[in-house]
């Protein structure tokens, strides 16, 4: 079996702890800035359709994807920009897809909720809540059959806990010891409803019922997410079966960009608490500085560089041409 250490494509094993955590910081900042630009594009009516922002949840995608090989698989959700970037997608082609341009990852046919990229193992974001649980489990099934050592990460929100197909595939994954990690990002809200109103029992109890390895973590702590994910991923890669990871986190924005008046389902005080006290980027910055891995000037420099990259990507996408309408019926069939 191939291991991460023997895969020259990764090279992450050789990086120092300091480099690893600085990269995690940069990745989270890139996602935050990406989503700020999405908000801007949407608000300026440059972006068609719907936009579901990942801001606030960056430590989950980054902590997990930093534990993966490039050829490992992920499936993502309607709130998927963070997963996509963390797995290695390029912001320019992502923005192009968000704007429906030919240069986009899906040639403009997928949009924000369907970005897919075989080069980074991204099987696709999915606009059906829980819609990709079968795909992720199937990818793990194929990995096991083909003995290619790949692991599949199935990202979903706590809203997907209401979908029966999740439990069908979790049962199968545990029975067949498939290399899949079910990552439940509990951002507290199923769209506009607090999860406590929709979720009986406990979240972890669902996985434990199948005899599945299950862990709950603070999803705002990128180092904790990464360490646990790395253990579960290597465990799955070694053939020891699936796992369930509950990451408690928070969605800073509304369900979608237009969800402005949120007082009927959550308070401003609650939002402020998470943004001021529990921000994953700030928490990690504090730690990097305390450890002596960086000073605030170095972190600011990284942010400026990321901003330049993201703004350049937006410019690229805005200037990029739309697909020719002649392409509308291409790729219906392979």
């Amino acid at each position: 079996m191939t291991t991460a250490a023997s895969n020259p494509e990764i090279g992450r094993e050789s990086s120092t702890e300091k480099e690893k955590w600085l990269r995690a910081y940069r990745q989270m900042v890139r996602i935050r800035l990406f989503e700020e630009q999405v908000n801007e594009l949407y608000t300026r009516a440059l972006m068609p359709g719907l936009a579901h922002l990942y801001s606030g949840q960056e430590a989950v995608a980054v902590g997990i994807c930093e534990a993966l090989r490039r050829d490992d698989y992920i499936t993502s959700t309607h709130r998927g920009h963070g997963h996509c970037l963390a797995k290695g997608a390029s912001p320019d082609r992502m923005f192009a897809e968000l704007l429906g341009k030919e240069a986009g990852y899906c040639r403009g046919k997928g949009g924000s909720m369907h970005i897919a990229d075989p080069a980074t193992g991204n099987l696709g974001a999915n606009a059906i809540v829980g819609g990709s649980v079968g795909i992720a489990t199937g990818a793990a099934f194929a990995s096991k059959r083909l003995k290619n050592g790949r692991v599949a990460i199935c990202f979903f929100g706590e809203g997907a806990l209401g979908q029966g197909s999740l439990y069908e595939v979790m049962n199968l994954a545990e029975l067949w010891k498939l290399p899949v990690i079910y990552v439940c990002e509990n951002n507290l809200y199923n769209e506009y409803t607090h999860f406590s109103e929709t979720t009986a029992g406990t979240i972890l109890g669902r996985a434990l019922a199948f005899g599945m390895e299950a862990v709950a973590i603070d999803g705002q702590d990128v180092r904790r997410v990464h360490d646990v994910a790395a253990r579960l991923v290597e465990r799955a890669r070694a053939g020891n079966g699936p796992a369930f990871l509950q990451a408690d986190t928070y969605r800073y924005s509304g369900h979608h960009v237009g969800d402005i008046n949120r007082e009927y389902y959550r308070s401003r005080q609650e939002e402020q608490f998470w943004k001021k006290e529990r921000d994953p980027i700030q928490l990690h910055a504090n730690w990097l500085i305390a450890q002596g891995h960086a000073d605030s000037a170095a972190l600011e420099k990284m942010t400026v560089e990321a901003r330049t990259e993201i703004e350049g990507a937006v410019k690229f996408a805005v200037a990029a041409p739309y697909p020719s309408v002649d392409h509308v019926d291409e790729d219906v069939y392979a």
Binding site: C106, G134, T137, A139, S165, E330, A334
Partner: protein, 332 residues
């Protein structure tokens, strides 16, 4: 048909399906089968008997009773290197797979801009008159024919079953393959050799000049039976079997109707908004000025399939019903 002069061999429809799968499992390591009771049980219809013994339980795999779950696994496995053949025991259970088929399998290629492919076959059954009542008797192929991204196959003979199934396994798209469970014991010639039948090519099962009977799956046998009875009355019926409802061979259907100037469309799905409606529309668009009578549609009656035998029998088109309709249409 192959040119080699092997003696004509007969297989049942079920044996033809099994032979196609066995050959594909032998040909390509990436092919695997999963579903409920597909391994040692060989399905309740015994269509897959013997496959697990030859190919092992890594490739012929029993699943829990979780149609949505294992269909989704089929989609993901197909995207990542395997060629799964997913078994849905009764076509009625397709309802449980609909999100996976309609929103995932059918769209993954298009939504990804052509990057991901889903080379998966879903095998399932259709057909009433088995006294199985409303939840084990439906013919739901029209639903899948409606969705861009899916292909839908309806074999009506052992020969077609083998050739079409091998094409399905080798296709890079999700294919839904419907087998009439009342037809599993039907015998017919099936070459031992490897052969495939392309999708979107109709087969004229019987040539005729007075009326065209376009029929799918189980209704092909009904149409052929009716054609024999009509011949005795001096009416020459041509039987056209599209074999796939998508892609649909519109040309062969329209050409036949242009020749005969009359058409009855037969399909065991519900008549309302069904495959018969689509094919009748194709005929109306392509052969309207050649028609001597309105196109007649005959499908399953618009009721949930009843259990009681005398009730069930009147819900499905019969030879006699087709004869009566054809006689009426051919009377000047």
């Amino acid at each position: 048909m192959p040119e080699t002069a092997t003696p004509e061999r007969e297989l049942t429809f079920a044996q033809a399906v099994r032979e196609a799968l066995a050959e594909e499992l032998r040909r390509d390591e990436c092919v695997c089968i999963f579903g409920e009771d597909v391994a040692e049980a060989g399905t309740p219809f015994k269509v897959l008997s013997g496959l697990v013994e030859e190919f092992g339980s890594d490739r012929v795999i029993d699943t829990p009773i979780s149609e949505a779950g294992f269909t989704g696994i089929g989609v993901g496995a197909a995207m990542t290197g395997l060629r799964p053949v997913v078994d849905i025991m009764f076509g009625d259970f397709l309802t449980l797979t609909m999100d996976q088929m309609v929103n995932q399998a059918a769209k993954a290629h298009y939504m990804s801009g052509g990057h991901w492919k889903v080379p998966m076959v879903m095998r399932t059954t259709l057909g009433a008159t088995r006294r199985s009542a409303a939840q084990h008797s439906q013919s739901l192929h029209a639903w899948f024919s409606h969705v861009p991204g899916l292909k839908v196959v309806l074999p009506s003979t052992p020969y077609d079953a083998k050739g079409l199934l091998k094409t399905a396994v080798r296709d890079d798209n999700p294919v839904v393959f419907f087998e009439d469970k009342m037809m599993y014991k039907l015998k017919g010639p099936v070459p031992q050799e490897d052969y495939t039948i392309p999708f979107g090519v109709a087969d004229v099962k019987r040539a005729g000049s007075d009326i065209t009977l376009v029929a799918t799956s189980s209704m092909v046998q009904v149409a052929l039976g009716a054609a024999v009875l009509l011949e005795k009355e001096g009416i020459s019926a041509e039987v056209v079997d599209p074999r796939t409802t998508w892609p649909l061979d519109e040309k062969t259907i329209v050409d036949s109707v242009k020749k005969t100037s009359r058409a009855i469309v037969l399909d065991e799905g519900y008549g309302r908004y069904g495959a018969t409606a689509e094919i009748a529309a194709v005929i109306a668009e392509g052969a309207f000025y050649d028609l001597d009578a309105p196109v007649k549609r005959m499908g399953a009656m618009h009721v949930p399939i009843p259990f009681s035998p005398p009730l069930e029998d009147v819900t499905v088109p019969t030879d006699e019903g087709v004869v009566a309709a054809a006689r009426e249409m051919c009377r000047k």
